[in-house]
Amino acid sequence: MRKPAVIKLALPAGDIRGPVAERLEAAGLHVEGYGEGSRSYRLSLPDRDEVTVRVFREKDIPVQVALGSYDLGVCNLAWVAEMRARFPEQPIVSVRDLGIGRCGIYAASAQGVSGLADLSSLAVVRMASDYPNLADAFAAAARFPAYRVQAIWGAAEAYPPEDADVVVVAVADERVLRERGLVPLLRLLESSAWLIANADSLAKKDLSSVLGPLVAGASEGAGASGLRLPTPLPAAGRRARRPPERLVIRMALPDGHQQRHVVEALSAAGLEFEGYDMSRTERRPVSPLAGLEIKVIRPQDMPQLVATGEIDLAVTGRDCLLEHLYRFPSSPVEEIQDLQRGQYNLSAVVSEELPVSTIGEALDLWRSQGKTSIRIASEYPGLADHYARSRHLWRYQIIPIAGASEGYVPEDAELLIEGTETGRTLAENGLKAIDLLFRSTTCLIARKGAALSGQRREVFDELVAALRRSAEAVEPV
C-alpha cells in the first residue's frame, strides 16, 4: 500500500492552545503534548504517522502556510488579514471558522476624539499597532495626508493619547475597548481562529485525514467577514501639532518575563508603584514620586519611544536596545545603567542532532551538504542580520518571527538567534547553543543629550541614582 504523504500542521502557541487542543480532540485529533501550559513545539499525533505538528506564534502561521512550509494551520483570521494587507496575492485559503478566540480588530483613539473626521485636521497622524499592515491600509484608505505607523509588540491600548493618535487593536468587543479608555472609530474585522490551508496543498495533496474531521465538526463560527476600511476623509485644514510643554518625567516599565526582575530592582531602589508588582500589571501604575508618570509597555517597543522623545527613561533588556541600534545606527538612544538583573544569553542555536560545536563547523557542514543559503529565524532580525554579516555567512535569509522559534529548526530554518535563560526549553525541543552573541541584562535607557531642566532634571537624576544604587547592591553577573 502506498504510504500517505506527510501532512504538516501548524498550531498556535500562547493562551489559545487550550481551546484549540479541545477543538482538535473533539474532532478526534489528539496531538500529544499540545494544550495549556505546554512548552513543546515539535509534536505528533500518536495514531497518525502521516501528520507532523509544529507550534508557532499565531502571527507567524499565515507566513508559514503561505510559504508552503505547512499545509494547514490554525490561527486568528486577523493575522491572515494582516499578511494579506501587504501581500495580497499569497496562496492562503481560509477554510473553516473554528469559533474560538472571537474578537474584533478595531481602529480606536483616546477619549475626546469623536470620530474619524477629527483626525483629518492633524498634520501627522501617529498610529501604533501590532497589526502594522492593517494600520497602514487604514491610513492609506482614509487618505491621511501624512501618518506614521509604529509597529509594536503589544500593549497598544497604553499608547493614546500621548504616544499615538490611533491604535489598531484586537479586543473581544467594543465594551472592552471602552473599559480601556479608548473610543472605537471603526471595526475593521470580525475575527476568530480559523483553519487555513496553503492553496497549492489544497489543490494537489490529500489532506483529508486532518481536513475532514475539522471541517465536519460543528462550527460555532459565523463565517468570514471582509476587511472594512474607511472611505477617504474630506480634506481639512491641517494643524501642526505643537506638543504641550512636558512637566513630568515619563518612564516606561516592561511587562512580560522581565517584570519580576524590574520589580525587584525598583524595590531595592526604594521605588514602589501601585499597579506594578509581582502579581499586577496595570498599564499606568501610580507613582509615589511627584513629577513622574509611568507607563507599562512591551520592552521591545521602548527604544523607539525613547529615541523620539515620547519617553524619557525606560527599563528594558539590552537585547531590545541592541536590536534597535543595529537596525537604526543613528538612533540617539543609549544605555545609562546596567541593572545587573534578569540575565540571559543571546545565542546562535542549531539542532542537537547536528554534529558540530561551533558556528564555523556548522557552516562547513551546511556547505558540504550543498546548502547555498542559510535560513536564520529570530525575534531579533537586526541582531540576526548583524551576526550573519559579522560571521560571514555569505548568502543568508533572515526570517523575522514573533516568537516560539523552537519549532523552526531544522525543517524551516538552519539557525536561530535566540534568548535563553536556563537552556531548559532548548533541551526539551532538541536544540543546542553553539555560539554566544552576548549576555543580556535589564538596563536603563535614555536619549543622548536630552535637554532636561528644573523638576524634570531632579526627578530624572533621582531615579537614575536610586536605580544605580540598586544595581550596585547586586552581585555582578
Binding site: R86, A146, T231, R327, F328, S331, T372
Partner: protein, 409 residues
C-alpha cells in the same frame, strides 16, 4: 546556477538595450532643450510622507511602493524608492526653485513599483514638468514635445485627450461620494459600461444616453460641441472642463493634429485638475500626462499651477527596431608579440590616434570590424584591411598621417 542572483522584477540592460535606451534619452533631451527646458535629477530615495501628503497615489499604488525604515528610521518615518518622479520634482521646485515664476524641467530617471511574479518592478521615464501659469499654451507645448520625441524615434503617435472634470461633474451631479466616484471611474476605465447605466439612473433629467455619449471616443471639437449641447443644460459643472479641453483641442486641430477625445482616460482621477492626454503608438499607450494644478500646494504651502507628461522608456524600447552593434572601430591595433617593446609601440600608436579622435580597439575582439588593422612592433607598423593595403610604415606619425590622408580621400 538554477537561481538567479538578480532580484526578482529587476532587469539588466545589455549593450543593444542600452543603445536603444540612449537613443530614446538623446531624442528626448534634444527635444526638451530645443523647447527651452532644463534637466534635473532627484534622489532615488524620498520620504514616504511626500507621497501620502500629496494624495496623488491611490491606496492601491501606495500598497505597491518599496517603503522601508532606513538607518534613520528610529523616528518611525519611512522612506521609499521613488514610485513616481513628478512629486519629487514638485518637492525640488518648492525647496529650491520657488522664486522662479516658471520652471520648465525635464528628467530621465527610474521609478520602482512592486509587481507580482516576474513582471518588471523598475521602469524608466522621460518626464517633463512645467510649473507656472501657462494654460492652455503649456498643455499644447507639452503635447507637441511628446509627439516630436516619438517622431524623432521613427514612431507615429496618436493622441487621446480628456478632462477628468467631465466625468467628475457627471458623478458629482449624480450625488456620488468621493469613494464611489473613484470606484465608478475605475469601472468605466475597465470597460464596465453598466457603470454608466447606474450613473444614468441617478440623473433622470439628463434626457440623453450617457452610455451613448461617454462610452465611446469622439473626434476633436465637433464631439466636444455635442457633449456641450447634450449635457451642459443638466450638468452645468461641465462647462469649465469642456472649455479648457476645447481650447487645447482647437489649437492642436488647427496645427494639423487629429486628437481623439475619451471622456474617461486616466485612473488618477483625483490627481488631475485639467486636460489630460495619452500618446499611443499602435494600440499601446507609451506615455501621457496632464494638468495637476493642486500638486504644488499639496507638497508645499505654495499655490502654483503645473502640468507635465512622461514617456515610458521600457515600452518605447520594445517598439524601436533592433540596432546593429555600435562597436565599429576605425583602427584595430594588435601587438606583434607580448614583448614590452611591441606593447609600447601599440599604445603609442593608439594614444596618437585617440588624440586625433579616431576610434581604436586594442584589447579584446573587434578588429574584424575595423577599416584599418595594424600590427604594431618596436621596429614598425604593418597595415592591412580595407584601408591598409599591405603597407608597412616605420613610425607612429606616418601611420597617423596615412590614415588621415585616406580618410580625406
Amino acid at each position: 546556477m538554477n537561481r538567479s542572483m538578480r532580484c526578482r522584477g529587476m532587469r539588466d540592460m545589455l549593450p543593444p538595450e542600452m543603445r536603444r535606451f540612449r537613443r530614446i534619452e538623446e531624442a528626448f533631451r534634444e527635444v526638451c532643450q530645443g523647447w527651452g527646458y532644463d534637466e534635473v535629477r532627484t534622489p532615488t530615495i524620498e520620504q514616504l510622507h511626500l507621497f501620502t501628503s500629496a494624495g496623488t497615489l491611490s491606496p492601491q499604488t501606495l500598497g505597491r511602493v518599496y517603503s522601508f525604515l532606513d538607518w534613520d528610521g528610529w523616528s518611525g518615518e519611512r522612506v521609499v524608492l521613488r514610485p513616481d518622479s513628478t512629486i519629487p520634482t514638485a518637492r525640488l521646485y518648492v525647496e529650491a526653485m520657488q522664486e522662479a515664476r516658471w520652471a520648465k524641467l525635464f528628467y530621465t530617471q527610474n521609478v520602482f513599483r512592486f509587481a507580482q511574479g516576474d513582471e518588471s518592478r523598475e521602469g524608466s521615464q522621460c518626464g517633463v514638468e512645467l510649473i507656472g501659469d501657462t494654460e492652455p499654451e503649456g498643455d499644447v507645448e507639452l503635447i507637441l514635445m511628446g509627439c516630436e520625441t516619438l517622431r524623432r524615434l521613427g514612431l507615429e503617435p496618436e493622441l487621446r485627450l480628456s478632462d477628468p472634470g467631465i466625468l467628475r461633474a457627471v458623478l458629482a451631479r449624480a450625488g456620488f461620494e468621493v469613494a464611489e466616484q473613484l470606484a465608478l471611474s475605475g469601472r468605466i476605465l475597465d470597460g464596465d459600461i453598466a457603470a454608466l447605466d447606474e450613473i444614468q439612473e441617478r440623473l433622470p433629467d439628463t434626457g440623453v444616453s450617457l452610455r451613448a455619449l461617454l462610452a465611446s471616443e469622439g473626434e476633436g471639437v465637433p464631439y466636444l460641441n455635442n457633449l456641450r449641447s447634450a449635457l451642459l443644460p443638466t450638468i452645468p459643472e461641465m462647462e469649465k472642463p469642456l472649455d479648457e479641453l476645447t481650447a487645447v483641442v482647437t489649437i492642436l486641430t488647427d496645427s494639423g493634429h487629429r486628437p481623439r477625445i475619451s471622456p474617461a482616460l486616466v485612473r488618477d482621477f483625483e490627481y488631475y485638475t485639467g486636460p489630460v492626454f495619452h500618446f499611443l503608438v499602435g494600440e499601446r499607450t507609451v506615455g501621457g500626462g496632464g494638468r495637476y494644478d493642486a500638486l504644488i500646494s499639496l507638497v508645499g504651502d505654495l499655490s502654483r499651477p503645473a502640468s507635465g507628461f512622461a514617456l515610458e522608456v521600457d515600452l518605447l524600447m520594445e517598439l524601436l527596431p533592433g540596432e546593429g552593434s555600435e562597436g565599429v572601430f576605425e583602427v584595430a591595433i594588435r601587438p606583434a608579440s607580448e614583448g614590452t617593446a611591441d606593447l609600447v609601440a601599440t599604445f603609442r600608436l593608439a594614444s596618437a590616434l585617440r588624440e586625433g579622435d579616431r576610434s581604436v580597439t586594442v584589447a579584446g575582439s573587434g578588429d574584424g570590424r575595423a577599416a584599418w588593422q595594424v600590427v604594431a612592433a618596436a621596429d614598425g607598423f604593418a597595415l592591412s584591411g580595407d584601408g591598409g593595403a599591405g603597407r608597412r610604415l616605420a613610425s607612429v606619425d606616418e601611420v597617423v598621417r596615412a590614415i588621415a590622408e585616406a580618410s580625406r580621400d
